[in-house]
């Protein structure tokens, strides 16, 4: 009985999002996908032109296909995916569009990964798939303006998302233990750095400095820290505070791997953003925007500002003035760098709150 109560409490009481907070997250996520996370459409015609022999689907449903489909098929799915995300952005048939976005992304990824290598980007599917059930289209949406029925913002999809993130990190950490990462002499992180630097030509940012760094204790510490973080995430999903702390660690982890290994996992960031205090962000934005006598509604102002910011970042990225080799891209450096700043600010505020609590 107690276990059942705890289980229910974990599912239903871990997160209490507000409809307005979730709506801001919906707008943020839709713009992130539309501007930064859509598959590269220029690759579709290349894929369609590959010899059939290059079609090497991973074990699974893609084995039902024997070759890459023609380019128009990819373009059609790409347009449908974009339209689904526009639907999510505007909050038009939000649940259907969210599920459609998940489905179309899954289909495109299936073919893209049939070149013989699976990339681990399932969070691109899970975020719209799970958030479809959070009622993130309950307000600031076309759906809400077409209906008088009030729907409740649900927190359990965020718990489910946390569970999947935690489990997926565990699957990254567990084989490292078996593979010998905890052996102080292995310096596995350094081995991967050298592999990325010399074999894959990932030589941007601080990678050159890291290659020359000859401090074994630093490399051993990084091996241990990586394993503890990745395995520990699964335990952290049991409490929302721990999950948020580990999401902060994840941002730090991705930032450091981007600087040294030049591997930026931007695809995970919309999922991490689900754990931001969106209701607080909403409460913070509302008076500020009204004090500037902004006539447009809050979501329109928020969405427009975010769109312009993202568009500028994208344009700078496309101009190839900075980081022309695209590994990592200007997009990735800017957004992951901003995420790190947000984490630092939130951390400082949290420490301030804890200090104040201790005084009282």
């Amino acid at each position: 009985m107690i276990a059942n109560d705890r289980f229910s409490k974990w599912i239903f009481d871990s997160y209490h999002p507000t409809a307005k907070g979730l709506a801001l997250y919906r707008i943020f996520t839709a713009l992130m996908f539309l501007i930064f996370l859509m598959p590269d459409a220029t690759y579709y015609s290349d894929m369609a032109d590959f010899p059939d022999e290059f079609f090497s689907p991973p074990p699974g449903p893609m084995m039902f296909f024997s070759e890459f489909p023609s380019a128009w098929f990819f373009y059609t799915i790409h347009v449908l995916l974009a339209l689904s995300w526009v639907g999510v952005l505007l909050g038009y048939k939000t649940r259907f569009c969210s599920l459609a976005a998940a489905g179309f992304m899954l289909l495109l990824m299936g073919f893209i990964f049939s070149i013989g290598k699976v990339n681990h980007q399932m969070l691109l599917v899970l975020v719209p798939g799970f958030m479809a059930f959070s009622n993130w289209g309950a307000t600031y949406s076309i759906d809400s303006s077409n209906s008088d029925i009030k729907v409740k913002a649900e927190g359990w999809p965020i718990v489910l998302l946390a569970l999947f993130i935690g489990f997926m990190f565990f699957t990254a950490g567990f084989p490292k233990i078996l593979g010998g990462w905890l052996d102080p002499d292995s310096m596995a992180t350094r081995g991967h750095l050298l592999n990325q630097y010399f074999v894959r030509g990932r030589t941007e940012l601080l990678s050159g400095f890291a290659v020359e760094l000859d401090l074994p204790w630093v490399w051993s510490f990084l091996d241990w820290a990586t394993v503890v973080f990745e395995v520990g995430f699964l335990v952290a999903v049991l409490r929302s505070e721990w999950t948020r702390l580990f999401v902060c660690f994840a941002v730090l982890f991705h930032f450091s791997t981007m600087l040294t290994l030049n591997i930026a996992f931007l695809v995970n960031f919309p999922a991490y953003a689900a754990f931001l205090p969106w209701d607080k962000i909403h409460r913070c934005l509302k008076p500020r925007l009204s004090s500037f006598r902004v006539t447009a509604s809050l979501p329109l102002t928020f969405g427009s500002a975010l769109f312009m910011l993202f568009a500028v970042i994208k344009m700078i990225d496309k101009s190839a003035v900075f980081l022309p080799d695209n590994e990592p891209s200007f997009n990735e450096v800017t957004i992951i760098g901003t995420a790190l700043i947000i984490v630092i600010v939130l951390g400082i505020r949290k420490i301030g709150e804890l200090k104040a609590n201790l005084r009282t």
Binding site: E53, S56, P58, G116, K117, M168, G191
Partner: protein, 164 residues
């Protein structure tokens, strides 16, 4: 009702709590005998270790383009030869499509033509034979710098014959 009942949500959680470890086990088994299945809810393990004391082993894969007289015209890193494939997928692509082969006869005519046309576009002249090369560099740290100690060719085989 617009949202799912608590009972159904709890069942969804119970399902995934059972499903996630099971699918991980399947990923491990299928991955061991074949390759990583998809879709799967896993992150990359990066379990391999490349460092042994002060010695580092770096595997290099190259595509070698010969001129018709048999001299090496140019060597291409996979990222250069298969430039449209995202960098994150090139190594996996080589593993799936080239590592298992040992001769150009492993590829069909369409694929061999594709290799030839790609080589011609990159070098600007009609190429001779094309080879896939796997070599290992051994590096040691000396004078606070990484230096190449030795290079060993582990495998070299023809992936397409010159213009017929």
């Amino acid at each position: 009702m617009d949202y799912l009942s608590e009972k159904i949500v709890k069942r969804i959680f119970i399902f995934f709590l059972i499903y996630l470890p099971l699918q991980y086990a399947v990923v491990g088994i299928v991955g061991y005998y074949s390759s990583e299945p998809w879709p799967a809810f896993v992150f990359p393990g990066f379990k391999s270790i490349y460092v042994y004391g002060d010695t580092y082993q770096i595997n290099q894969f190259m595509v070698e383009v010969e001129s018709p007289d048999g001299t090496v015209l140019r060597e291409f890193a996979p990222q250069q030869f298969f430039y449209e494939i995202p960098n994150s997928q090139v190594t996996g692509f080589l593993r799936s499509n080239l590592d298992g082969a040992d001769d150009f006869e492993a590829f069909d005519t369409e694929t061999r033509n594709w290799f030839r046309e790609r080589a011609q576009a990159l070098v600007g002249v009609s190429p001779g034979d094309l080879y896939y090369l796997h070599r290992r560099q051994y590096m040691t740290r000396f004078d606070n710098k990484l230096n190449i100690d030795s290079v060993k060719v582990l495998n070299r085989f023809k992936i397409a014959e010159g213009n017929l």
